[in-house]
């Protein structure tokens, strides 16, 4: 049985990372990258809308995507902490996109074959989009990791920064449509392959994040939500 709480978690992962990637608009290192990050954010937002609406149906509250996105406080968000930490420099953004898109690729590949037809329909579509995201991040991590001494050092520092947040993606979730542990082999195989080709070291952090799926978040999520939600909350029901 697919639980509404876990679908909400998958929705919030996509929504929060879409918001983070949107922060790069007009600030990316080059025009093409600006467009690429906005496109990836838009794909994630599209996934989030479908998943949020579905979570609202499953939990019986009838809340639509807007109500769930704009009218919950941080403790009600179920995303992993990986997606909420700040963008950092471009290398941190690419390190996170690599690990997250590799996770989403494994997730959506598996969800395509689940009985929940809304999830399966979305997954069949989203997996094709996420393949582009994963490829984009892969190309950058290869280029920066196996680039100059400076780019290598910063790419390694970026991996060190985000790695403590990766285990949380695979924590057990009793109501998940796919056991998160089942996604780990595909994820590891892709990510390890990229790191090796990019001459980067897989970090071995001394700590790991926990609790995003239970509503425990870093201090960064509240600030992100304040920016994302303030217009909707200040002008309830406003229309263009």
């Amino acid at each position: 049985m697919t639980g509404p709480a876990h679908v909400l978690g998958l929705a919030d992962d996509a929504l929060v990372l879409a918001q983070r990637l949107g922060e790069w608009a007009t600030r990316a290192p080059e025009l093409e990258e600006d467009i690429a990050l906005a496109n990836i954010a838009l794909d994630l937002l599209g996934q989030a809308r479908t998943l949020l609406a579905h979570a609202g149906e499953l939990d019986g509250t009838g809340r639509d995507a807007d109500a769930l996105a704009y009218l919950r406080d941080d403790r009600e968000f179920r995303n992993v902490q990986l997606v909420e930490i700040p963008n950092g420099d471009f290398a941190v953004t690419m390190a996170r996109l690599l690990v997250f898109s590799a996770y989403q690729h494994a997730l959506y590949s598996a969800l395509r074959h689940r009985p929940d037809s809304t999830l399966a329909g979305l997954a069949g579509k989203a997996v094709k989009e996420v393949a582009y995201h994963r490829d984009h991040a892969t190309q950058w991590v290869l280029r920066l990791g196996d680039g100059t001494a400076e780019s290598h050092e910063r790419m390694q520092a970026a991996l060190d920064r985000i790695w403590p947040y990766t285990d949380e993606l695979f924590d057990p979730a009793p109501d998940a449509p796919v056991d998160p542990a089942f996604l780990r082999p595909e994820w590891t195989s892709h990510v390890d392959g990229v790191l090796a080709a990019a001459t980067l070291r897989r970090p071995e952090p001394a700590w790991r994040s926990r609790g995003g799926r239970d509503g425990l978040h870093t201090e960064h999520l509240g600030h992100l939500l304040a920016e994302m939600q303030h217009l909707h909350r200040s002008h309830p029901g406003a229309r263009w």
Binding site: I35, G46, Q47, S117, G124
Partner: protein, 155 residues
């Protein structure tokens, strides 16, 4: 009473708001049209990309086209499965894209194939960015005539 076939043709003839040279039938995104017992016209549309911002405009345009074709009650649904693929763009759609300076998508395969320049026809082109002005396009440039161009990504 207008026939289902007539309404289906009206829906399919609606231009895409972001690529107005193409109709919805050229793109292959009108998946079904039914007339229910009470006379409501139900149309199934599939988005090209889940986040495509044109989806809502397309739904409104289709509803308007069905109404002006003579139906009073219209309901437009978005269906995600089966997932849209660029294979559904018709031969006519591909010809129109090329004519308007946009390289049509190649076959859906694991690796990126070179796009042919829609201006000079050269295959000596390179991809500048996987992402372009709309979710469905990539940026390319031609080494032969030096012109940049958009290419619809195989999906």
């Amino acid at each position: 009473m207008v026939s289902a076939a007539g309404l289906r043709a009206a829906a399919g003839a609606v231009p895409d708001p972001e690529l107005p040279v193409l109709t919805l039938d050229d793109l292959g995104i009108v998946r079904d049209l039914r007339i229910t017992g009470d006379g409501t016209v139900e149309v199934d549309l599939t988005p090209t990309y889940t986040g495509c911002p044109a989806t809502e405009v397309i739904a409104a345009d289709v509803a308007a086209a069905i109404r002006s074709a003579g139906a009073s009650r219209v309901s437009v649904r978005t269906v995600l499965a089966p997932a849209w693929t660029t294979e559904w763009i018709t031969a006519e759609g591909r010809r129109k894209l090329r004519e308007h300076g946009i390289a049509p998508p190649g076959p859906v395969v694991a690796l990126t194939l070179s796009a042919r320049c829609p201006r000079c026809g050269s295959a000596d082109t390179r991809e500048v960015s996987r992402f372009g002005s709309t979710p469905c396009k990539a940026l390319w440039t031609c080494r032969a005539c030096l012109e940049p161009f958009d290419a619809v990504k195989a999906l």
